[in-house]
Amino acid sequence: MGEKNPSAEGVSLAVDLGGVRMKNPVNTASGTFAFGSVFEGFFDVSRLGAITCKGCSAEPWPGNPAPRMCEVPSGMMNTVGLANPGVAAVVEQNGAYLAGLEERGCRVILQAAGHSVEEYVAAVELIEELAPWASGVELNISCPNIARGGALVGGTPESAAEVVRAVRPRVRRPLLVKMAPVRVPEVARACEAEGADALSLINTINGMSLDVRTRRSRLSRPTGGVSGPAIHAIAVRMVWEAAGAVKIPINGMGGIATWEDAAEMILAGATSVTVGTANFYDPTCAERIVGELAAWAAEQGVTDINELIGAVEC
């Protein structure tokens, strides 16, 4: 127990995620929080520092057939396939709620997805035009590049740099880049060099789960993305590597389900901590973590949570 500041109320929780000014470090992960409103029955969503919306593209994408999910030990796998109705429909259906959420003090980050540099550009241009109220834009570079035979856009420093370079001048707000969990330090440096304001990581780790009786994938695709507590230790390591490789802030995620998980991410170097899969099974946990992080900071004897970012001693 820290002596200096025994009361959680006295701790300043505000963080600056590359220009996205969050009143506390707790964010939600793209694709795990829809567009926020479905969580209002669980808690006052405006209590969060930010929410990140489901990735959306210029045109609607149907996504993959069912089954889109299966369970793995301490985690799950999904192959939603970035299903979304397109930026225009997203804004039409959710714009009023999301603009209101910004007014209620919770930052809204919209995520752009694409299968090619052109599609990313088209998506961010639509977001810039239709959603001026959003505080930040996140570029999901874990999408397959169709022109390159499905290789991950964010799979190499070169391909990551290419898309960030094309998108950066079109986004007048803070630009976050959501990285795939591969070649982390190299890709992180490439994104920083092209002007990313912050890095979000990790996205799901590609996995495969087979039904040994039917000899088929448990999903409608051969592979899917693993998320949840199973990947947490890997995610903390990647956040730590990224934080060591770049100067821009890190939006840390991967298997965060408790305040300890979130605190680990902060110690490893994350400026914001983002709840993903846990929203599905413990839908009130993101809000709970806000208060628990304050208590932890007080216990650690700091008055500002920023003092704990990257404060691992090793």
Partner: protein, 265 residues
């Protein structure tokens, strides 16, 4: 957001009883005074089964009865894997949480004509709820209940008790009722004529058959669909159901009750 519905929230529930009702079938009664009155037949709950942290997700389960006056919710469920096995071991007094209400209820309309409810296997759970709704709205109905074998059959008494006209029973092996499928029994009923609506829940292949029979007979049909689910309230996008118009809908938010005509079978 559809503001007319109770938003999905987190509710504490207590196990009142949890006992076998047939081979591999259990009935759990939960006490949930702040929830029971919010549930409409056809909706479901996403139930946390504590104990094994390696299984992170909740278990989506329909209910057969939700009694606003007693605050009790009855769920009949099949023990098929580890999660439902652990649920079956929760003793009286265990406390857990459910995410609810999830999804949309069965849709009946005032003055609706005679109906048929069709249940295959553990599809019986939301079908008993549906029968309760029909009884409450004083809509006459018959029932078809199918199971693999006599030992796994449950729900005939419940449906009779709710006022079903006839309850036709089918089993795959003929050990109870007639040997064969629910679809055979349904086709015969509809052939007699006079039905306005069919409600069905069971294996997808059964519901596809029911949908076809209803279309051919010109009778409206609603089905309650299942999908592998993470959240149950529209957050994850994993529970997609392919629609006849080529789009996907979400089983948990747009369903689980769909008009059979709209589903791509």
């Amino acid at each position: 957001m559809d503001d007319t519905k109770t938003p999905t929230g987190l509710h504490e529930v207590t196990v009142v009883t949890n006992e076998p009702v047939a081979d591999g079938l259990m009935r759990v009664v939960l006490s949930a005074p702040d929830l029971a009155f919010r549930l409409a037949p056809g909706q479901f709950l996403n139930v946390y089964v504590p104990g094994d942290a390696s299984q992170i997700l909740r278990i989506p389960l329909s209910f057969s009865r939700a009694d606003a006056s007693t605050g009790k919710i009855e769920i009949v469920y099949a023990v098929v894997g580890d999660g439902t096995r652990r649920l079956s071991e929760m003793p009286r007094g265990s406390v857990t949480t459910v995410v609810a209400p999830c999804g949309n209820p069965w849709r009946t309309s005032a003055g609706q004509g005679r109906s048929v409810v069709v249940a295959g296997g553990v599809g019986i759970t939301p079908i008993v709820a549906c029968a309760g709704l029909l009884a409450e709205r004083e809509i006459a109905f018959d029932a078809v209940v199918g199971a693999q074998t006599a030992g796994r059959l449950w729900g005939v008494d419940a449906l009779s008790g709710l006022g079903a006209g006839t309850v036709a029973v089918t089993t795959d092996d003929g050990s109870a009722g007639r040997a064969g499928f629910t679809t055979d029994a349904l086709a015969e009923l509809l052939a007699a004529g006079g039905y306005a609506q069919v409600y069905a829940c069971g294996p997808e292949v059964m519901m596809a058959g029911v949908a076809r029979i209803c279309r051919e007979a010109g009778v409206a049909c609603q089905v309650s669909m299942e999908r592998m689910m993470c959240c149950g309230f529209g957050a994850c996008g994993t529970c997609n159901v392919a629609m006849a118009d080529g789009t996907y809908q979400s089983c948990c938010k747009d369903g689980p009750v769909f008009d059979a005509e709209e589903v791509a079978w």
